[in-house]
């Protein structure tokens, strides 16, 4: 009887032949790489398609690299070359604006001033309140919300508030009768006001009193006196804009208003600029419907033919 050994050998040979006859890689090219990749084992680097292959950049210094860098967002507001700018003395600018606004009501049309700053897009902005030497708008109708029988109510009525009280004010506001431009609130009636729901009416008009805006105060009369003639200004998009006068103002009045405003802004700038550098770049005088005229700081130019007296009438 034969031993089982040769038999085993035969068997193994037969197995080997069998494996040899069937190639490991299939002759058909597969579209998916996942099956061949898996068959190559866990730690073998994957075969990648041409698309997925990282592009090896040529080190030839004569070939210009065409790497498109992503453009960085600008952090400052754009500045222009002002050397070619045409500027006007104040009298000339006023003459042009008055001619442009002819026939308009002298009380409704306003002179406007735009101060362009050199400033960053982020960071602190100039924001302040100023009382001009010749206020642009003086006749505010003020409403004071305070307990009707308190001493504040009496004082507010005496100071010229249009509407004083609590419940009657809320009723009038909810009925849509708003005959005032500013609203102040005494601290004692703050809770009552917040509960009454007038915020839905006053909020969208920007008249809702809040301590943030300084319209919720202990003494409303004092604030009323401060508010008359004071105007707020703030920097938006690197420009401060403010109404600086009525059309009927004389050049002297305008010039004192301009000086006061620009000085106040410069003071604000110096207060801010320990961290960031802000500069005043350009001063442009305009009006409600008129053109914008860059000023050169002079009151009267060499070619100015008008006198301040001629520009004073209605």
């Amino acid at each position: 009887m034969a031993t089982p050994k040769p038999c085993m050998a035969q068997l193994s040979r037969a197995c080997l032949q069998l494996t040899r006859s069937t190639p490991t890689a299939l002759p058909i090219r597969l579209f998916s790489t996942s099956t061949p990749n898996a068959s190559r084992g866990k730690f073998v680097p994957k075969t990648v398609s041409k698309k997925e292959k990282p592009v090896v950049q040529s080190t030839n210094k004569y070939i210009k690299k065409t790497v498109v860098k992503k453009k960085k967002a600008r952090t400052t507001y754009k500045q222009y070359d002002l050397s070619q700018e045409e500027t006007f003395p104040l009298l000339d600018a006023m003459r042009i604006i008055r001619a442009w606004e002819v026939g308009q009501k002298p009380t409704s049309v306003k002179y406007e001033l735009a101060l362009k700053l050199k400033s960053q897009k982020n960071g602190p902005v100039v924001r302040n309140r100023l009382r001009l030497p010749h206020p642009v708008k003086t006749d505010f109708n003020v409403c004071v919300i305070c307990p009707p029988d308190s001493k504040y109510a009496e004082a507010a009525r005496a100071a010229g508030a249009v509407l004083v009280g609590e419940d009657d004010v809320f009723d009038a506001v909810k009925a849509g009768k708003i005959e005032f431009d500013r609203c102040l609130c005494q601290t004692d009636s703050l809770v009552k006001m917040n509960k009454s729901g007038v915020g839905r009416v006053l909020g969208p008009r920007g008249m809702m009193p809040s301590s943030k805006l300084g319209t919720v105060v202990v003494d409303p009369v004092k604030t009323m006196k401060d508010m008359v003639g004071a105007t707020e200004y703030r920097e938006r998009m690197g420009v401060i804009r403010m109404a600086i006068g009525q059309l009927g103002f004389t050049p002297e009045e305008m010039s004192s208003n301009l000086k006061a405003f620009i000085e106040a802004v410069k003071k604000d700038l110096s207060r801010i600029s320990d961290k960031v550098n802000k500069e005043l770049v350009e001063v442009v005088l305009s009006s409600t419907n008129g053109p914008g005229l860059p000023l050169n700081g002079a009151f009267k130019g060499t070619n100015t033919s008008v006198t301040p007296k001629e520009l004073s009438g209605p």
């Binding site: 002819v102 009380t107 004389t250 005229l293």
Partner: protein, 197 residues
């Protein structure tokens, strides 16, 4: 703020304030001009409005001391009138128009400080801008200001620029329309858009 080049181009148009109809100096006898007309555009109130927007501005530019007022009413049946206030020649010669040193805060109806001796009123309804101007110039004996050679040159330059910009804009409009069409055609071919949408 708006780009400086754009702003300076706009300022060039201030030339319109110096040159054109109404560029005239009124005699010192004229103390005030006043216009009355209706807010709405139609029914013969177009001419007065155009006069106000164009010629009155020039008149005011050359006569900054003369008050010029416009009152526009709501009722379409109201008349359209031009009123010219005169003072006597001697009064005009002796007192140059006195003006307040501070602005009157409550000046709803600005009154002329010089006493008015006579007024001329004429109808401006259903009349063209230049007709109104002609009559005004004839009544007041205003001295017309002719544009200088320099200003004429500037006007020519501005006109040339305007023509060129019209040409450029037509060209780029065409180009943009073509590009848009091409883009749309490609989108339809890719199946992102149907030809009807």
């Amino acid at each position: 703020m708006v780009n400086i080049a754009q702003r300076m181009t706009r300022l060039k148009e201030l030339l319109r304030l110096r040159v054109g109809g109404g560029a005239a100096i009124l005699p010192p006898e004229v103390t005030r001009l006043h216009m009355d007309f209706v807010m709405t555009y139609d029914d013969g109130h177009k001419g007065p409005r155009h006069f106000w927007r164009n010629d009155l501005r020039r008149l005011k530019f050359y006569n900054p001391a003369v008050p010029m007022t416009v009152s526009r009413t709501e009722n379409p049946d109201d008349p359209a009138l031009m009123t010219i206030h005169f003072t006597s020649a001697s009064a005009a010669a002796s007192t140059p128009p006195p003006v307040p040193t501070t602005s009157p805060q409550t000046s709803t109806a600005p009154s002329s400080p010089t006493p008015t001796e006579r007024t001329e009123v004429f109808n401006i309804k259903s009349r063209k801008r230049f007709e109104i101007l002609e009559q005004l110039m004839a009544l007041t004996n205003a001295k017309k200001i002719e544009p200088t050679e320099e200003e004429l040159n500037e006007i020519r330059e501005l006109n040339a620029k305007r023509e060129q910009s019209a040409k450029d804009s037509a060209f780029s409009q065409k180009f943009n329309a073509k590009q848009k069409q091409e883009k749309r055609r490609m989108a339809i071919a890719r199946g992102e858009l149907t030809s009807t949408s």
